[in-house]
C-alpha cells in the first residue's frame, strides 16, 4: 500500500466568536472529514476558542463556503500539507 499523500490539503485556523459558530463547526465535522489538530476532537469545540483542523482538497470549498456564510473568521495556515510535510526535513544530513 503506498503511503498516504496530502497534496493540496489545507489546515485552517478558525477564530470562533460564540457558541453558535461552535455549533456550525461541529455540524461541519458531522458532514465532512475534518482532522482536528486543536482541540483534538470536535466535541471539545466551544465558543470563544481557536480551532485548527485539516481538510482535504475535495472538501475544502464546501467548508470554506459554510465558514463564509456564517461570517466566521478564519485563516488558511497551511495551503498544501504535502509540501509542508516535505519541508519539515529542512536540516541536511551531516
Amino acid at each position: 500500500v503506498p503511503p498516504v499523500r496530502f497534496d493540496r490539503e489545507k489546515v485552517l485556523h478558525v477564530n470562533l466568536q460564540d457558541e453558535k459558530q461552535a455549533n456550525v463547526l461541529k455540524g461541519l465535522a458531522d458532514t465532512h472529514e475534518l482532522d482536528f489538530w486543536y482541540p483534538d476532537a470536535p466535541h471539545h469545540v466551544a465558543g470563544n476558542m481557536t480551532v485548527d483542523f485539516r481538510v482535504s482538497e475535495k472538501e475544502f470549498q464546501s467548508v470554506q463556503l459554510a465558514l463564509d456564510q456564517h461570517e466566521m473568521r478564519y485563516e488558511i495556515l497551511i495551503h498544501d500539507l504535502q509540501e509542508v510535510i516535505e519541508k519539515q526535513f529542512d536540516v541536511k544530513e551531516d
Binding site: 500500500v1 496530502f6 489538530w37 486543536y38 471539545h44 495556515l77 509542508v84 519541508k87 519539515q88 551531516d94
Partner: protein, 308 residues
C-alpha cells in the same frame, strides 16, 4: 543498518533503537535500558534509566510520543538523555541531579503509531491495535488510562481520533507503562509527559473542573518552569490545569499518575502555536529542546529540594 542518528533531525524508530544501544554502550555507568513490554506489532517498549544510583532513589518518569504524529516529542526525550549523560561531571546542576536521583525516560510510547507515521501516514495519532467489530484501527493511548475512563462523549467510537479503547488499560503500551510506574511508585516523585503542540505546561485534572489538592504548589512549579523555558528564546508558554486551560478530557496519563499518588505531574505541549502544528521543521528541534530542557531541569531541581 538503520543509518545515522542525529539530534538535529527526526529519527526513525530503527535509528532510535540503535541509539538506545549506543547510549548504554557509551555510558554504561549512567544509562541502562529496560524493556518494559511489547506492542501489538511486537515492537519493544524501552525505558532508559539515567542516574548513578539504585532503584530506591527519588526518580522522575518521563514519556514522549504517546501521540504518533507529535514528532517533536520523541526528539526531546532523545535530547534529554543525551544532554543528561553528556553533562554529568561537567555541569554542576546535572551532576547533582544524577548523583541523587534517577530519570526513567520512555523515548517513544506509541511505537507502532510512530512507525506508521514514517511509513504510511504522517498524520496518524493513535496506536495500531485492531478494534473488535470495526474496520477502524487504533486507540488513543492518552484516553486509555484508568482516570474517569470513557466518561465523555465521542471516546467510545473506534473510528474517532480520541477512541478510548474497549476498557481502561486495554492497550499493551498503556499496560506496560502503568505496570512499570506502579512497580516504581515508591521512588517516583514526578511524572512528566511530553506532547505537541500549543505551548503549555499542564497539571491535573482533565476529567473534572475541580482543582487538585496540591494546586497551589503545582501552579507555582508550572509558572517557574515556563519562566525558565522562556528565558532562552522568549517562547511564551501558558500554564494551568488541563480542564481550565484547554478542555475536559478523560483517561489521560497525567490524571492517572496523579491519582496514583505521584503529586508532581506535568504535561508539556511543545512548540509551536499552530504555524506548523505537528510539522515543526527540523531546524527548530534544537531550540525547542534547549528551552524545554530548562523547564524540565527546573522541575527536577524542585523535586530534589522539596519532595519527601
Amino acid at each position: 543498518i538503520p543509518g545515522r542518528h542525529t539530534y538535529a533531525k527526526y529519527n526513525t524508530w530503527d535509528k532510535i533503537v540503535a541509539w538506545t544501544e549506543k547510549m548504554v554502550h557509551k555510558h554504561p555507568e549512567m544509562v541502562s535500558r529496560i524493556k518494559i513490554g511489547t506492542t501489538i506489532e511486537d515492537n519493544p517498549l524501552y525505558v532508559l534509566k539515567i542516574g548513578t544510583g539504585d532503584e530506591r532513589r527519588k526518580a522522575i518518569f518521563m514519556d514522549c510520543g504517546i501521540h504518533a504524529r507529535e514528532w517533536i516529542s520523541p526528539a526531546f526525550c532523545q535530547w534529554f538523555v543525551y544532554q543528561a549523560a553528556k553533562s554529568y561531571g561537567k555541569n554542576k546542576i546535572m551532576t547533582k541531579l544524577l548523583d541523587r536521583m534517577n530519570f526513567y525516560v520512555l523515548p517513544v510510547f506509541n511505537v507502532d503509531g510512530y512507525i506508521w507515521t514514517w511509513k504510511q501516514n504522517r498524520m496518524w495519532r493513535k496506536n495500531r491495535s485492531r478494534n473488535l467489530n470495526s474496520k477502524c484501527i487504533g486507540t488513543d493511548l492518552n484516553r486509555n488510562f484508568n482516570a474517569s475512563w470513557n466518561s465523555f462523549p465521542d471516546t467510545n467510537k473506534p473510528c474517532g481520533e480520541t477512541y478510548a479503547g474497549p476498557a481502561p488499560e486495554s492497550e499493551k503500551e498503556t499496560r506496560a507503562v502503568t505496570d512499570f510506574i506502579r512497580k516504581h511508585r515508591k521512588s517516583l516523585e514526578a511524572y512528566i509527559t511530553i506532547h505537541s503542540y500549543s505551548q503549555m505546561v499542564l497539571f491535573p485534572y482533565g476529567y473534572t473542573a475541580k482543582l487538585p489538592p496540591d494546586q497551589e504548589e503545582l501552579t507555582k512549579v508550572a509558572k517557574v518552569s515556563t519562566d525558565a523555558l522562556s528565558s532562552r528564546y522568549e517562547t511564551r508558554y501558558i500554564y494551568g490545569s488541563i480542564a481550565s486551560t484547554i478542555y475536559r478530557t478523560s483517561g489521560s496519563s497525567l490524571d492517572w499518575a496523579y491519582n496514583l499518588g505521584i503529586k508532581h505531574t506535568f504535561a508539556f505541549e511543545l512548540r509551536d502555536k499552530g504555524r506548523f502544528g505537528f510539522l515543526l521543521p527540523e531546524s527548530q528541534i534544537k531550540s525547542t529542546c534547549k528551552e524545554t530542557m530548562l523547564a524540565v531541569k527546573y522541575i527536577a531541581k524542585y523535586i530534589l529540594r522539596h519532595a519527601s
